[in-house]
Structure formats: C-alpha cells, structure tokens
Amino acid sequence: MSEYKISENLAVSESGFLFMANTGESFTVNETGKEIIELLKDEKSKEEIIAALMEKFEVDAETAERDFEEFISTLKDLKLVTKS
C-alpha cells in the first residue's frame, strides 16, 4: 500500500502528458516521472517504487530514492498527490 495517493482527477497519457480534469492544468513528465506516477497509481509502496526504478533505469538505491523524493515533493506542491 502506497503512502501517497494520486489525484483521481489526473489523467496520464502514454507519452507522459498529465491533465488535471478538475483544474485544466497540464504537465509533461519524463520517463522516470511517468514510471513513478504509474507505480503510484498501482498503489505500490515507496520501497517497491525505488526497487522498480533501480531495475528499470539501472541506478543505485541512493539515486533512485533521491529522484523519488524530489519528484514526490513536486507532485505534492502541484496538489497532484496527497498523503494517504
């Protein structure tokens, strides 16, 4: 169970384009960002997401965790995720 919940208003496209259906805001994210959002949507835990990032992008645990935390912080600022 993830400790973060992606907004139910957020639509994510294949290309990494994000659209908030209730505010009209749109964003683009890179491959890593898209991966994190998809894993959050699947309700994966922080540990599971970090492990998946390490495997997919061939980075060490420290880098994966830093990327995850930075990205989550941005998502929280934009009100795209909430703590569940």
Binding site: N9, A11, F19, M20, A21, N22, T23, G24, E25
Partner: protein, 347 residues
C-alpha cells in the same frame, strides 16, 4: 424558420453571436436562415461565410426602446422572424421588456425576466450570494469617487474596480482606484463596484436554464490563454463537481431562463469557489460547450420555440478551444450595401 441573432462583433473582445450561430448550424437539425442584427456596419460576423444569411443594422437600445422596437418590427415585416436570440448584456433589459410585444408579432424569445436580470446585477450579487449561502467576494457599490475615501476596513488594496456592465481593473492603491473609477464611470456610468481582490485561479461555467429551475446543460472551463484585456483566447473543458453543483444551484434558485455564464475564482488559500459574476447570456466561448457535447445554443433555440428539451447529462472533459483572428477581404460594394441600405446579404 428564421432566427435573428445579435452580438456578431467578433473583435478582440468578441460577442457571443457567431459561436451561437455555429452551434445552431452544427446541430444538423436547422434548415432555416440566420438573420444577423448588428450595431456597427463593420461587425465581422455579418461578413463571415456560413454565419448570417443576411444582417441588418439596428439602433442601440440606449437610444430609446421605441425606435429599437420600430426597427425590429420593420425587419420583421421583411423577414418574418420566428425567434430572436440576443447575446449582449447591454441589450438584455430592452429585449426582456419588449418580449411580450415581440411575442404579439409572432417572434419568440427565451430570456431572463427583468427581475432575474436585476437580482444577478453586479450591484446586487453580494446580497444574493449572502442570502443563498454562496461564497462571493465582499464589495461596496460606489456612486461617487468620495466613496473611495471611506472604504470599510474589510476592503484593503489591491481592489477590483468594476463597471456595472463591463470592464474591471485591479487597483493597487488609492490613486489607481480613483483613476479607474473615473475611467469606468465615464464609459459605463454609475454605480461602480469596488470589490475585494481574491488570489486564486479563475473558472467559468456556461449554463442554460429552462426557466423553472432545471439546468438543461452546464459545461465548466478554465481559460488557458488570456489576453491583456483578460479575454480567454484558449480554454479547456474541465469537470469539478463543486463548481457545477454551485452553478446548478444558482439556476435553480433564480429559475434562470436562458443562457448564462458564471465566473468563479478558486481561492489559493482555502480552495473554495467564490462567485464573481453572473453574466445573463452565453459567453463568447460557448462553442466549447458545443464541441464538448452540449449544444446549448441549439437547445436554447428549441426552448424558445416551446419544444421540450431533455437535460444534458455529461460532456467531454479536456476539449480545447483556440480562438484566432482572420482577415477577410471584402469588396467595397458590401460595405456600401450595409451603409446605405442597412442590410447586407451574405454570398
């Protein structure tokens, strides 16, 4: 069937006439003619292809309701109009007043009543909201520049200075406020609204009420490209349950009859929606509603004709409108036609 429509001024701050006509034509069920009613010989909608079949110059209602009615009767004697759809704020009182006389001529309208127009007025909106438990920014109705000297403590700069019909400026200090007050009073007359400035994002809803409390349709949008004049030249359809339920509540309370636009701000601090304005007609962006699946202009025409219209249940979110400008090249003969005869026939 012949339907006359105003607001063909497709200029930088466009009137809603052209998108209303496009909606009616797009319905695929309209096989009549569209008659444009224009206040200026150069209103672009009169010259645009596939918009109005013919357009007639009419006098401003402010020049007197009698001469306004006479001109409409004269056009009716030539065209035999079935319905008139006015789309501009400043003419609505006149059309609402004339509705029974027009009905006698056989011309149908579907307009808010005089009482509804008064209740939603910018000078009455705060009272309406307080009474019905709807959030709205605090304001005072200023009838003289002296009122700016004795603002209540709840009104701190920056403030929004608004005209009774159009225009709004953000004043950051007393000097700016007096300057905007004079500018607006000179253009739109008194009173002038002095309103609390709320930090947040603006959202809009276009709606159609059936006159007995039911919302026939409502589509919410967010402007995504705003000009210096504050006009949205691009926007996207969005869905927010709270926003739409407040809009439907307003339609229900007022028994709103006809098209309307509700302007809201979502406060950055609380996330709550505050009602800024009720515009008593379709907005210029109404074609987005058509594109998103709610043909509100055609539904308004059906209501005017006394047809039963089932409420729309949903619409497509994420549809974008992008407005553009386009130079038409027109022969002087056309301009001569409208200038001399007061009517222009579109090819």
């Amino acid at each position: 069937m012949k339907v006359a429509i105003t607001g063909l001024n497709n200029i930088d701050s466009p009137g809603p006439g052209v998108p209303v006509i496009r909606g009616i034509r797009d319905s695929g069920k309209f096989d009549g003619e569209i008659i444009g009613l224009i206040y200026d010989a150069l209103e672009p909608g009169a010259y645009m292809p596939q918009v109005a079949d013919r357009s007639y110059i009419i006098p401003y209602p402010s020049a007197g309701v009698n001469s306004f009615y006479e001109r409409l009767s004269q056009i009716h004697s030539i065209e035999n109009l079935d319905v008139i759809i006015p789309t501009l704020d400043a003419e609505l009182f006149a059309f609402s007043k004339l509705a029974p006389s027009l009905e006698k001529l056989g011309i149908k309208t579907f307009l808010p009543t005089k009482e509804q127009l008064i209740l939603r007025g910018k000078d009455k909106l705060l009272d309406f909201c307080k009474k019905n438990n709807i959030n709205a920014p605090f304001n005072i109705v200023a009838t003289s520049v002296n009122d700016l000297y004795k603002l209540p403590p709840t009104l701190q700069y920056p403030l929004v200075i608004k005209g009774i019909f159009y225009d709004a400026y953000v004043a950051h200090n007393f000097q700016e406020a007096t300057s905007y007050f004079s500018k607006i009073a000179a253009k739109w007359g008194l009173p002038v609204i002095v309103q609390e400035f709320l930090q947040g994002e603006e959202y809009n809803v276009v709606a159609l009420g059936d006159g007995s409390g039911t919302t026939i349709g409502a589509v919410a949008s967010k402007k995504t490209y705003i000009t210096e004049k504050g006009k949205g030249w691009a926007g996207v359809s969005i869905y927010d349950e709270t926003l739409l339920s407040i809009s439907k509540k307003i339609v229900e309370i007022l028994n709103w009859r006809g098209g309307a636009e509700f302007e809201f701000v979502k406060r950055s601090d609380s996330g709550e929606f505050y009602l800024l304005e009720i515009n008593p007609r379709f907005p210029a962006w109404v074609y987005l509603a058509v594109g998103a699946g709610q043909n509100l202009p055609y539904a308004a025409l059906q209501l005017a004709r006394g047809e039963k219209v089932e409420p729309f249940e949903n619409y497509e979110v994420g549809k974008i409108f992008i407005r553009y400008s386009w130079d038409l090249i027109v022969d002087m003969k056309k301009f001569e036609e409208i200038s001399v005869k007061g009517v222009i026939k579109n090819d």
